[in-house]
Symmetry: C2
């Protein structure tokens, strides 16, 4: 493990994207978001994803020059075609547009079809919150999880994000519908560890904390068993119905395994058109205090609000450098020809 | 167990509400929704809740004559004060208003403050779907669940509903943030049974399927562990920030334990302003087929889409009468002086 400054990581990722053929400004923005994700500790969609993203560009699965075009404007609801442009840029555009709509009307919803993997969904929640808006967004994905009652993959893990702006640190929830990602299962298996809580079913159909046993069945667990399965189905269908794009089932038929042509929904709400800053501050403080005032399971482990741990990691990484896995960092430097 | 016709159940509940002092049309609507919930198999917020609702009227916690008044109109977003009117009527009004807004603009959001328990949240999802709209709604509640990392109650279980209209049967998700309700724990304990999956923690801090052990600690499990805990916090905060009403923490301070002065959010979207009926039908059919085509965990147990089992129960109950618990039915008849 090494620590790399934010600037060095961003410049390196940007260089890799420039070499892959991205225009300068676009490479800069994508590198910024990948670096921010790593800086917040979300490596899976930050530094660790750079190599795969470059590969997608080479495969022609991402059009580095494409931008969203408006397909329908219903006032508070706009629909865009993402033209398989870079998922980060499309999603950033969509959330920005939603906040513009919310700035004047209180509420804005942008649905995006035919886009590509947005990497870390939370990025667009933080984006809305940074601008002072409540943000809600989600994406569909290809199938990677059985629906409840099934053993074969039928539904996506469809990340869902909610964000609330707050002076002392935004409150941001960023969750996929599976209890653990395949990435987490792999990392835990390589460490010869067990998952802290059951994460899927083994070959005997029992709930298991053994990552290898779950990887073998591919029966990863939806959050809340049947509830997360149902939630994943609804998020998928609503993203398709709002945007006119492909469902998980539709993407599965393309058979590419790259989440190409996925759909996303972005909602922004302007809290200051509804309440005073004083009211908002009071509500947020009262709730954060109530959570933090809980009797603790472990006396030395304070409770946190959603997003708090990301912020703590960010502060540490900004002050001391972003911790990186040496082999992954070496690979990204190679892509940047450094 | 006895079976009672829909009409007899509705007339009996209506009579109980009339005696409790509800105006005729209001008693009729509330009785209709309570009966529909029982008819769909959701007794906890149907027949089984009548006695408690009557008690709330007598306590003065529900104002049987109050109706929502508009506090703010931002175009696609309207905010109402529910004046502690009957939760069912307020919520029905709010979802109806959201669909009216969506009918002309594609999208409508209504936030409601100072309302009372809406009983079965799914009712308002079905309501939107029946009218041809995608519906999303949620409510906050008083604290009844520890936040992740805590052992004392700090967050609500905040039911969340998503509904999609579909000719062959609407697709409706209605889920609270706890894996099981206290009602389910109690019923399972009385049968001397175990929960099918872990539903909370026992006094040793271990995940447990023993309902009595979980009732003793009151450490019911949020869906997806830390994820459902975070989701509950976001739903609570956003409902308060959108409506200007009380959070879970704010309601806790009132100390009434009746979910009075709760907040709710209702979103309606007009799918036909976005896509053709043909596209919608195709998307829904393709996804339902993919789910149902899964390899089954139990060969004789087909998978279902969200809402399908409610619809099956409804069809059976409409054809053969609604199954009721005799002692609860006797109690409701007593309230109706029958």
């Amino acid at each position: 493990m090494t620590r790399i400054s934010f600037e060095e990581m961003k410049a390196t990722i940007k260089q890799a994207y420039l070499i892959a053929g991205m225009p300068e400004e676009r490479a800069d923005t994508c590198a910024q978001i990948h670096t921010e994700s790593s800086c917040d500790g979300v490596y899976s969609h930050g530094l660790n994803r750079v190599e795969r993203f470059v590969d997608y560009i080479h495969q022609g699965w991402v059009d580095v020059n494409a931008s969203p075009t408006l397909e329908k404007n219903l006032g508070a609801l706009e629909i865009y075609n993402g033209h398989l442009g870079p998922g980060i840029l499309n999603a950033q555009f969509a959330m920005n547009r939603a906040t513009e709509m919310a700035a004047s009307n209180g509420l804005g919803l942008v649905a995006l079809n035919n886009t590509t993997h947005w990497m870390r969904g939370g990025a667009f929640g933080w984006q809305a919150a940074e601008k002072g808006f409540i943000g809600i967004c989600w994406t569909n994905t290809e199938s990677c999880m059985p629906a409840w009652g099934g053993t074969s993959g039928a539904i996506g893990n469809n990340p869902f994000v909610m964000a609330i702006p707050r002076k002392e640190g935004h409150i941001v929830l960023d969750m996929a519908m599976s209890q653990y990602s395949y990435g987490k299962l792999g990392v835990t298996r390589l460490k010869n560890e067990q998952l802290p809580y059951p994460g899927g079913f083994d070959q005997d159909g029992n709930l298991s904390t053994d990552p290898g046993a779950i990887e073998a069945t591919r029966r990863i667990l939806p959050i809340g068993f049947w509830k997360g399965s149902g939630f994943a189905i609804m998020l998928d269908l609503i993203s398709s119905l709002l945007s006119g794009g492909l469902t998980s089932a539709g993407m599965d038929k393309l058979g590419k395994g790259n989440c190409g042509s996925c759909c996303q929904v972005f909602i922004a709400i302007n809290p200051l058109m509804i309440n005073t800053q004083e009211f908002i501050d009071k509500v947020l403080q009262e709730t954060v205090e109530q959570i933090k005032g809980s009797t603790r399971v472990h006396p030395d482990k304070p409770l946190s609000y959603p997003g708090e741990n990301s912020l703590k990691t960010r502060m540490d990484h900004l002050a001391n450098g972003i911790v990186v896995d040496d082999s992954i960092w070496a690979k990204v430097k190679e892509l940047a020809k450094l």
